[in-house]
């Protein structure tokens, strides 16, 4: 008993008091800012492993970006990654950052379904589906609920059964072999329900976008309620994204 108390004491204070304002330590590649500097755009575009950089105007699609930072390292005067981790959006177009764009990415309240605030505002239970994910987003989702990030303090949790869930959270590009399971799981969730895509692989297929082994037809059938970018998505990105979607501003 005394040993247990000692252990508890030695942990000190671990939880992050305010996960909406905390600053991430060290280097963090969050929301990028693209300057209007003239650079050799062809070279810049070729650097990107997932073709996330496009021209006219120069833009980075965070739904495709792997956040490897190669572009910012070779063209520091053109692209800079800020430490802003609030990069989730409910509209796919918001994830495309154009040159000169310095605004924060925010959930667009006009396109959030009416019932989301009302029904999921204080409690949201999600069924996570790993569909061809590489287990990195899964690690970060588990970390979102550890004693430091402690997402469940907001009433947001992952549940075992789709029958208990308010929606699904997909990680991974959706492999052909998982396509049917994703559909069955989604069908088993009672209405009303939401779909959240977590990580670059889920949002665009990422590095697997052109693979013959994936099948993303499920995503064409339904409205996606939230996109949480990252490779993998940082726990703070995940928590803030889910909070911004479900809480009234």
């Amino acid at each position: 008993m005394i040993d247990n108390l000692k252990i508890l004491y030695h942990q000190g204070k671990q939880f992050i008091p305010d996960v909406t304002t905390v600053v991430v330590p060290g280097i963090f590649r969050g929301r990028p800012i693209i300057s209007r500097e003239k650079v050799e755009i062809e070279t810049l575009m070729k650097l990107c492993p997932t073709k996330a950089i496009t021209s006219n105007p120069v833009a980075i699609d965070l739904g495709k970006c792997t956040f490897c930072g190669e572009c910012a390292m070779q063209f520091p005067e053109k692209i800079k990654f800020t430490t802003d981790y609030k990069i989730s959006a409910n509209d796919r177009q918001q994830l495309i950052i154009k040159e000169g764009d310095e605004n924060r990415i925010e959930i667009n309240p006009k396109t959030v379904r009416d019932d989301i605030h009302r029904i999921f505002g204080k409690s949201l239970k999600l069924r996570q589906i790993s569909a061809g994910g590489d287990n990195s987003c899964e690690w970060e989702l588990n970390a979102s609920n550890n004693v430091q990030f402690d997402m469940s303090r907001f009433g947001i949790e992952f549940v075992a059964s789709p029958r208990h869930a308010d929606g699904i959270a997909i990680t991974g590009p959706i492999s052909e072999n998982m396509a049917e399971a994703v559909q069955i799981c989604y069908d088993a969730v009672p209405e009303p329900k939401i779909i959240v895509l977590i990580g670059t692989d889920a949002i665009s297929g990422g590095i697997f976008a052109e693979s013959s082994a994936i099948n993303r037809s499920f995503l064409e059938k339904y409205h996606i309620d939230l996109y949480i970018p990252g490779n993998p998505a940082h726990p703070l990105t995940i928590i803030n994204g889910l909070l911004d979607l479900t809480r009234k501003q």
């Binding site: 030695h10 792997t66 790993s130 287990n135 970390a143 998982m178 693979s211 013959s212």
Partner: protein, 498 residues
């Protein structure tokens, strides 16, 4: 000679690998391994070659630090004697060759599909119709779990045959995570795309797989890697081991409903992966390892920071371990649960922790050293019982060992140098790279064509060998002990499915 001997990270001309007829190939490779526990198969695979299939077998010898390569050319419709009829450790390799090319192996005990790749030979076989073993009995029942599991983990299907609460047999069906990675290595032409792919093989073994790819690429391009680059890789490999082992200890505690251990180990993982973020901008080290260059030099400032982190990590980690291993309710769940005997691990050819748990000393850091492991006097940690307790103990001891290795490395930090440019890969070459990831030996093999382009790329994650050990470990255990057996192995689904 029927074979050629190479060392880890060596590139040779593909024509130097002798092509022998299948019967000689069979005798040679089974002969290498039978009654020689210091040898095992690190990779055995096939690829299309002039309308036929070329089989390449790579056998590693841990005592002489060699890898024996041999090959054989067989017809597409061939029926061949199965290596598996003599040695169970070839079981998955032959299933893979059968699934990809339709080659039949006679004498194979279960020539079932392995991962249902998109380019499989027989497309009429689908993942929904896997031919499970079933039973016809009034007393026994089957339990199916997955592909979607209760927790936030990867997909796979487990089919148990049980007598009451007791598991008689477990069959594990994988393939749900198949993303066609090996094919993408050929299709994606930029180096940055390929290293991104290597980082995406298994998200918890980012450093392991990206180091294996980098070594193979540097070897193909005949590039002399600086000590500084190898230094950063060694540090990162050991930090990855510490982080995932600590996370696994947390998961094991969760599965025995020990909340304190679960929370403390869970939070202890954070400073380690947050250090990775401070160093390279990603908690799981994505973007850190690159072939031929280092974007994130490891300087004295980072070294001091890491020393501080380890100094505060270690006492908290030791304190929690001490408490866990004297807790009767934890020990009663760990001890004699999920046993795989030494004979069994030798027969199925497990690697890494899943071999060392039963006193089979397999560790690439010692047997085929790479990076800076030659300087570290690494001695693998082995246990004898092959139960959950052994696996959990090894994780604890390996975390401490990794901390010691890192401390030793930090005494002498190499200066950052500008790296020389890399040449393009050699033509018509074969290269092999072995890396000891946190689960065991990772093996990558590459073949280039007459233009120096990648012709074939083969990846083998340690889990490929070890899934069978999990299936055997749960036999005659209570079904309620399955989660803890599973977590104590912590095998990779995506590493297997590719």
């Amino acid at each position: 000679m029927n074979y050629i001997s190479v060392s880890n990270n060596q590139t040779i001309n593909i024509s130097l690998i002798p092509v022998i007829d299948y019967n000689t190939f069979f005798e040679l490779n089974t002969g290498f391994i039978i009654n020689r526990p210091e040898r095992h198969c690190v990779n055995y695979y096939g690829y299309y070659f002039n309308g036929k299939i070329k089989l390449i077998c790579c056998i590693a010898d841990d005592s002489t630090h060699e890898i024996f390569l041999s090959s054989s050319l067989v017809e597409l419709s061939a029926t061949l004697d199965a290596f598996t009829s003599k040695l169970l450790c070839f079981e998955k390799f032959e299933r893979e060759i059968h699934e990809n090319f339709g080659i039949k192996f006679s004498g194979h005990p279960w020539l079932k599909p392995l991962r249902y790749p998109f380019n499989r030979f027989d497309k009429s076989q689908t993942i929904a119709n896997y031919p499970f073993y079933s039973i016809d009995s009034e007393e026994l029942h089957e339990v199916g779990v997955g592909p979607i599991h209760a927790g936030v983990i990867e997909p796979g299907h487990f089919r148990f045959i049980c007598n009451g609460e007791q598991i008689l047999h477990l069959e594990i069906q994988l393939g749900y995570q198949h993303r066609g990675i090996e094919q993408l290595f050929i299709e994606k032409k930029n180096l940055i795309q390929r290293i991104t792919l290597a980082e995406s093989i298994a998200g918890d073994t980012v450093v392991g797989h990206s180091t294996a790819f980098s070594h193979i690429w540097e070897s193909l391009c005949d590039y002399k890697v600086s000590r500084e680059i190898e230094f950063t890789r060694t540090i990162a490999l050991e930090l990855e081991r510490i982080a995932i082992h600590t996370g696994d200890l947390s998961a094991v505690c969760t599965d025995i409903a020990y909340q304190l251990g679960s929370s403390v180990f869970g939070r202890l993982r954070t400073p380690i992966i947050n250090f990775m973020q401070e160093w390279c901008g990603n908690r799981l080290s994505k973007g850190l390892i690159r072939p031929g260059y280092n974007k994130f030099p490891f300087d004295q400032l980072l070294a001091n920071r890491l020393k501080n982190i380890l100094d505060t990590f270690e006492p908290d980690f030791s304190e929690m371990c001490k408490q866990l291993f004297k807790l009767p309710s934890a020990l009663s769940r760990f001890e004699r649960t999920g046993v795989v005997s030494n004979d069994d691990v030798k027969s199925i050819g497990t690697v890494g922790l899943s071999a060392r748990m039963s006193n089979l000393k397999r560790d690439i850091r010692l047997s085929h050293p790479y990076s800076l492991y030659n300087e570290l006097d690494h001695e693998p940690i082995c246990k004898r019982h092959g139960d959950v307790y052994s696996r959990v103990q090894i994780r604890k001891l390996e975390v401490k060992q990794s901390i010691e290795h890192i401390r030793k490395l930090l005494e002498n930090i190499p200066d950052h140098l500008d790296n020389e440019l890399m040449n393009s890969p050699k033509l018509n070459s074969f290269s092999i790279s072995l890396v000891e990831g946190l689960r065991g030996e990772i093996c990558h093999c590459a073949i280039t064509d007459q233009k120096g382009e990648l012709l074939h790329y083969k990846i083998k994650d340690p889990s490929f060998h070890n899934w069978m050990a999990l299936a055997l470990s749960v036999r005659n255990n209570e079904i309620s002990d399955f989660p803890i057996c599973n977590k104590s192995f912590n095998l990779s689904y995506c590493g297997h499915d590719l």
